[in-house]
């Protein structure tokens, strides 16, 4: 049973990550792959506060998420004032740079990782309780992103993506909107990180490197950028499928690189053949001026 629980929890966490990443790069149109670092900040923040400073765990989780929000604003503000391209480089630099700090500083456990993180909830309600918590958070995140995307905020984002100059000419503050979206997405990722930390109770910097970025990216792209359920499908597929493959008894020397090849190849194939992803909606390719209508596939 634990085996299934772990899979469900991981899927749930990745649903949160993929949805929030979709918010940032899909709806917000912001080019960033540093999502995992905010996942890490939430995880480490919550874990250190709970373990070393005796902060009650639920409070620590929320504070961890807030620290992630603050960090994301710190990264986004200076870079977005210059241009969108700079956000990409700034975010990569921030991700790798902060990971270097995590590896060198002793109070994060250093390169060996943070152990003995206190567990949350399981004492009271057992593992089922935690699974339920993660599933609820995942569902809420998806609905939240959906509400944002389909509401006035989302329309503003869409307008900004279409034509930023016109957007600014109408008196809207594009930079504030972008930073806000980035912060929200990063905060969600941070909260997911806190949930991860208090279940698995071990964190290592190597889990948050660029490889993790491309896993989340793959989920969003294959699932479908700028769709509500695309990231969910992507998360389920990319977490459950590798586990299912391990039951197939393939020779192990083929397994690892082959899996990597499989998933990167999958992304390329999707980009070439079906760029709108599995759950595609509308013209996705360009930041063109065509309106995106739900359910219409080109």
């Amino acid at each position: 049973m634990d085996y299934l629980y772990t899979i469900v929890i991981l899927v749930g966490l990745y649903v949160v990550l993929a949805s929030s990443f979709n918010l940032v790069i899909g709806y917000g149109g912001l080019i960033s792959i540093a999502h995992p670092i905010f996942y890490a900040i939430g995880a480490y923040g919550s874990a250190i506060l709970a373990r070393d400073y005796g902060v009650p765990i639920y409070a620590a989780m929320i504070i961890g998420a807030l620290i992630a929000v603050a960090a994301s604003v710190l990264v986004a503000l200076p870079s977005l004032r210059v241009s969108g391209d700079y956000l990409l480089i700034a975010s990569i630099g921030f991700q790798l740079g902060l990971l270097e700090v995590f590896k060198n500083v002793s109070w994060t456990g250093g390169a060996g990782g943070l152990t003995n993180i206190p567990a949350a909830l399981i004492g009271n309600t057992g593992r089922e309780g935690y699974v339920l918590l993660v599933v609820v958070v995942a569902v809420l995140s998806v609905l939240l992103v959906r509400a944002i995307a389909h509401g006035p905020y989302g329309r503003a984002l869409s307008a900004m993506r279409d034509d930023e100059v016109a957007f600014a000419a109408l008196g809207r503050n594009a930079v504030a909107l972008k930073v806000g979206t980035f912060a929200l997405g990063s905060g969600l990722a941070g909260f997911a990180g806190a949930l991860y930390a208090h279940y698995f109770r071990f964190l290592a910097p190597e889990q948050f490197e660029i490889l993790q970025s491309s896993v989340i990216l793959t989920m969003v792209v294959v699932g479908g950028l700028r769709t509500t359920w695309g990231p969910v499908v992507g998360a389920v597929l990319l977490q459950a499928l590798p586990q299912a493959i391990t039951f197939m008894n393939l020779p192990p020397s083929l397994l690892g690189p082959l899996q990597g090849l499989l998933f990167t190849g999958l992304v390329l194939v999707f980009m070439a053949v079906r760029p709108q992803g599995l759950v595609g909606a509308g013209e996705l390719w360009s930041g063109s001026k065509k309106e995106v209508r739900d359910g219409v596939r080109p």
């Binding site: 290592a204 190597e206 391990t246 192990p252 020397s253 759950v279």
Partner: protein, 387 residues
């Protein structure tokens, strides 16, 4: 127009995959009754697979040997093999599978990050995790159900530091270490032990794991004028460090730990490898059984194993498990994790084919003699044994 979230075809596909996974799980759960089962979770793919696969092969040979000699009280040993990719996350999934689906009482793992990540699972489910090969000092503090059969970081580094200070008479040591967990901890241990043995650490420099040029650090070391240099790095960087060291005119002897103890070092450095001292935690080919083992590798696989000492420990691990299983069977106790742990601690001392005597302490550590190997005339040979 109502939005269709997932077309029918796609929903069917997802349902089918879900069913397949469920089916596979139930199929995997029911297993043969007459075998004594334990798990082995190793990196079979990914960056560390070149070590992991050789270690798995050694364990497989051991299981085959044990079964050929009649198994444990007539019952065969069955080893369930899963991939961890040396990644903590994948390791957790493999451990969960071994514990919840395969329901083994004990399993073997390696790689410090994986061992640490799995520890909570072992503790919560009362299944014994045998760490074989990982050497982080933290492993001794991971709870009741994680034990190591491989000496942790302090043992071999302390031995080489002590030997350099006392037997080789070195008074000034320089320490160059890779900036990751292994490097940092080991460097500290070297410094502490060397200083306590009467020497002085004159240079203490870290380097980035991704570095490809060590000129700055090496110049600092050179300026400090040591009489021995200890390098705590990985197989990827240590040969380069030694090469650049010699090129900058540092002629002092070099010591390192088991990571460099492989024939490739000599290939890459040629003459510059002469005199390099490495630690090994298992006897070398001077021992008859080890010699035969290495010969078997050469014959069957065409080369020597990657990380020879580690494969020796992996070869011996099934013997430990078999011994504990036998004891439990003899006493007619059920093969649960709890019983395994108690019995293992009760037996305490194991006589193992390729690594000699092993004493598993209650404080989750083991003590073993350290073999110091030296490159002489283009080949690795044993220099000394330190207890």
């Amino acid at each position: 127009m109502r939005k269709t979230l997932l077309s029918r075809g796609r929903r069917q596909l997802l349902a089918g995959m879900g069913a397949a996974v469920a089916l596979a799980l139930t199929a995997g759960a029911s297993s043969a009754q007459e075998t004594l089962r334990f798990g082995l979770a190793m990196p079979l793919s990914g960056g560390q697979a070149l070590y992991g696969q050789d270690q798995v092969k050694a364990a497989e040979w051991a299981v085959a040997e044990i079964n050929a000699k009649g198994g444990v009280n007539g019952k065969k040993l069955e080893m369930i093999l899963l991939d961890t990719r040396a990644d903590p996350q994948v390791g957790i999934q493999s451990a969960n599978r071994l514990v919840s689906v395969e329901k083994v009482p004990v399993f073997i793992t390696a790689w410090s990050a994986v061992v640490k990540a799995i520890a909570p699972i072992a503790n919560d489910n009362k299944v014994v995790q045998l760490s074989v090969g990982a050497n982080s000092a933290d492993i001794a503090k991971l709870g009741d159900y994680t034990y190591t059969t491989f000496p942790l970081a302090d043992v071999d580094i302390a031995a080489v530091a002590n030997y350099s200070a006392t037997k080789l008479g070195k008074k000034r040591a320089a320490v160059l270490y890779i900036n990751n967990e292994t490097g940092v901890v080991a460097a500290q241990i070297y410094r502490d032990v060397f200083t306590k043995a009467g020497g002085q650490v004159v240079a203490y420099e870290a380097y980035d794991p991704k570095a490809s040029d060590w000129t700055g650090s090496l110049l600092k070391v050179r300026a400090a004028n040591p009489d021995i240099i200890h390098i705590q790095g990985l197989v990827a960087d240590t040969p380069q460090v030694i090469a650049q060291m010699r090129q900058l005119g540092l002629t002092q002897p070099v010591s390192s730990y088991s990571a460099v103890y492989n024939p490739k070092l000599i290939e890459q450095l040629g003459k510059a490898a002469e005199g390099v001292i490495a630690t090994s935690l298992a006897p070398g080919v001077e021992d008859e059984k080890v010699k035969a083992y290495v010969e078997r590798w050469r014959k069957e696989v065409g080369r020597e194993p990657n990380g020879l000492p580690y494969t020796q420990y992996l070869y011996d691990a099934p013997y430990i498990i078999a011994a504990v299983f036998k004891s439990l069977e003899d006493k007619k106790l059920p093969l649960t994790g709890e019983n395994f742990r108690q019995e293992m601690l009760a037996i305490k001392t194991f006589d193992l084919p390729l690594t000699g005597k092993l004493v598993i302490n209650e404080n989750h550590t083991v003590a073993k003699p350290v073999y110091l190997m030296e490159v002489k005339d283009g080949k690795w040979g044993q220099l000394a044994v330190v207890n």
